[in-house]
């Protein structure tokens, strides 16, 4: 190892073609310490919620879903008020009318005509014309008992949404608490609680709900109760997983050293950090609740008459499915849209809160 001099040796001739470069007179003077060398180029750390919002609104599917949900909710709130009919008023003389909407009927659609497939061929009949009712309009048509479908659909949506929301929220509270507590205390507590949850989870949701509905009196409260009993497990699992992740973090340790009690830590320290996940799960459980309720109503275990929910409407309309198909379309559309939109909304939320999270 013979290299000994440390004096910078001037290059023995640059490998450049001087003519290719344009040199200025002061080029080879030191620039001097510019402030730039000392400054680290940091990106302003953005507010978490701002980022979340940006990501969410960048997701076109989620935004469209949100808008649709809002529209449907608005209709559920105000729809029934838009017509003079009540949801239970029966006009047996005006039953099974096809949809007829003023103004639009002049375009040739929704003018009260419906085609009937008979053994001899297809016939077009118009209930309004037959009874000479020129001033009567049923926007979605009327059902087999002469009730206005428009009003009933939105009443039904109101109730379906109401049930779903109640169930989802109660479910969130119970599931969240269960999961947080289970995850926080760990050890035997966690073991036992998890086992119980696992066993309950092992029982098919359908079975529990059906049995409960059989035994308890029908009604709003019962359905909410039935839904709630099975749904909380999903929420608790998420809450527990998040708690396990955050439990070891420093801010929890700091809190504990300051003397915070367990419940304070659980609900005031950890919870705000997992709100994102919780909200997402909440959004997901709404369509599940709507679906289950609709299903129950369809088999006859749902809301008692004369109240209606989307499920019961579908069930009623099912019988005249082949003769008056228009009756089943509105509730099905609303149901499908609601479920689709809530799912997309929840998906968008999940992406927004944590873009890296795996889909499941």
């Amino acid at each position: 190892m013979a290299k000994k001099n440390n004096k910078p040796v001037t290059a023995s001739g640059p490998e450049i073609n001087s003519a290719a470069y344009e040199f200025l007179p002061d080029d080879f003077t030191l620039r001097g310490n510019s402030e730039a060398t000392r400054i680290d180029n940091n990106f302003a750390s953005q507010n978490y919620w701002l980022e979340v919002r940006q990501r969410f609104f960048g997701n076109k599917g989620a935004v469209v879903s949100l808008i649709l949900v809002i529209i449907i909710c608005a209709l559920a709130a105000f729809g029934p008020l838009m017509t003079d009919y009540s949801y239970k008023e029966q006009k047996l003389t005006e039953k099974n009318f096809a949809p007829r909407i003023p103004l639009i009927e002049n375009l040739g659609i929704f003018d009260g005509d419906e085609s009937l497939k008979t053994t001899t061929g297809t016939k077009i009949i118009n209930g309004y014309e037959d009874k000479n009712l020129t001033d009567v309009y049923y926007w979605f048509g009327s059902d087999t008992l002469g009730r206005d479908i428009w009003t009933r659909v939105w009443e039904g949506t109101r109730i379906s949404l109401g049930i779903a929301l109640c169930a989802a929220i109660i479910d969130m509270i119970i599931g969240m608490s269960y999961g947080l507590i289970s995850g926080y205390f760990g050890g035997r507590v966690d073991s036992i609680m998890s086992r119980i949850a696992e066993v309950i989870n092992g029982i098919p949701r359908l079975v529990i709900v059906t049995l409960l509905m059989l035994v308890l009196p029908h009604g709003f409260v019962t359905i909410v109760f039935a839904l709630m009993i099975t749904e909380w497990i999903g929420m608790s699992r998420i809450a527990r997983a998040e708690m396990l992740k955050l439990k070891e973090q420093e801010f929890v340790l700091a809190s504990r050293t300051l003397g915070a009690k367990h419940f304070f830590i659980i609900f005031k320290e950890v919870l705000p950090n997992i709100i994102g996940q919780i909200i997402t799960q909440l959004m997901f459980s709404i369509p599940t609740a709507i679906f289950t309720e609709a299903f129950l109503s369809f088999v006859g275990l749902g809301i008692p008459v004369p109240m209606c929910s989307l499920g019961s409407l579908i069930s009623d309309a099912f019988n005249s499915f082949t003769t008056h198909p228009y009756q089943i379309v509105p509730p099905i559309l609303v149901l499908a849209l609601l479920m689709l939109c809530f799912n997309m909304l929840a998906d968008g939320l999940r992406e927004a809160f944590d873009p890296k999270l795996k889909e499941m």
Binding site: S12, E15, D40
Partner: protein, 359 residues
């Protein structure tokens, strides 16, 4: 064959690569020239994001889908048959040609994290045998024997037992040995090691490095190390290329780089390596962060962080200045008109100390 009788294996010229995404185009590699000779070890050194891995991935043809090679050639010379050499431009080859003829067969690569490099659902033995069977159609039994030999070669005890096991049953060090065995399975001529020891314990690191050196000696293969660890470079490299912001800023033999560095960035790198005799109470770091490669860079990319920057550094990018046959540096400080700037005092004294100790 050049003057000293060395055979050139890999010659990279003017390599320029960009990554295209919805938001922006990142010019990751902005003109790289690189040479590798047979049987020698080349180390590519630089910070994260300097482009070291990308350069070598280009040579392997395993760049990401959104990578675009703007310009450049990578000439690779290999033994087509006994004593018959062939030179190809790797960039011009199609993906299929690369996979069939080059990958695994002539150039092999090992990656940083042995934990994730191995397929968790395939036994270790099968993964070693896969390459042989794929490229050469080696019959099962023969491949199995070869795999056992390879396991022995990389220093794994009880190879008969290990060959049937799955990656998760092995420790980190053993997994990396398996990765090396896989790389050697088809007798490649060039081995590229991308930070092979970063994910391992310090004690295992040394063993793996020694293993690679031994293999290199016994098989006569050439090795490229990609690393940011100057300690490893000192131990293994014959030549060092220092990379910054997608370009090579200084290259030379390992002695030239360690004892006579010329580029301020290299000074920074060397100064940042703490050693036991460091007098400073503060650990030296190069201030600032590497530039974003999204935008066109005007002048010297290192200028903003360079306290020795000249005014010309902000306008024109420096070309490679020749310091010796083997030593080049891309800095205007090497121009005759530039003021005489010496390396920082602490670095100077440290180098003096090291020279003294070695005498």
């Amino acid at each position: 064959m050049d003057k000293k009788g060395r055979e050139k294996i890999l010659e990279m010229r003017k390599l320029s690569i960009s990554f295209i995404s919805a938001n922006a185009t990142v010019n990751a590699i902005r003109g790289v020239d690189l040479d590798l000779y047979k049987g020698e070890t080349l180390a590519i050194v630089g910070e994260s994001g300097s482009g070291k891995s990308v350069t070598m991935k280009a040579a392997m043809g395993i760049l990401d889908k959104n990578a675009v090679i703007n310009d450049g050639t990578i000439l690779f010379t290999y033994n087509r048959k006994e004593n018959e050499k062939e030179t190809v431009d790797l960039i011009k080859l199609s993906k299929k040609e690369m996979r069939k003829n080059i990958n695994g067969k002539r150039i092999a690569m090992i990656f940083q994290d042995p934990m994730t490099s191995l397929d968790p659902t395939m036994s270790v033995g099968k993964q070693i045998m896969e390459g042989m069977i794929w490229h050469y159609g080696t019959p099962q039994k023969e491949a199995f024997e070869k795999a056992l030999d390879l396991l022995k070669e990389v220093g794994i005890d009880d190879p008969e037992k290990r060959i049937k096991q799955y990656p998760h049953q092995l420790s980190g060090g053993m997994r990396q040995r398996v990765v090396i065995a896989i790389a050697l399975a088809c007798d490649p001529e060039l081995l590229i090691c991308d930070e092979p020891t970063t994910a391992l314990d310090v004690t295992i690191q040394a063993k793996i490095i020694e293993l690679i050196q031994r293999i290199q000696r016994e098989r006569g293969i050439s090795v490229i190390y990609i690393t940011h660890d100057l300690g490893i470079v000192a131990k293994v490299a014959d030549y060092v290329n220092v990379m910054y912001a997608g370009k090579i800023v200084e290259k030379g033999t390992v002695d030239e780089i360690y004892f006579d560095p010329r580029h301020p960035y290299t000074w920074g790198l060397l100064s940042a390596m703490p050693d036991l005799d460091t007098d400073d109470s503060r650990l030296y770091t190069i201030p600032g962060s590497p530039p974003s490669l999204r935008n066109e860079i005007k002048g010297d990319a290192f200028a903003p962080r360079n306290i020795y920057a000249l005014k010309i550094d902000e306008r024109l990018e420096p070309p490679m200045f020749k310091i010796s046959e083997t030593h080049y540096a891309a800095t205007w400080l090497m121009d005759e008109r530039a003021p005489r700037i010496e390396m920082p005092a602490e670095l100077k004294s440290r180098i003096a100390r090291m020279l003294k100790e070695s005498e």
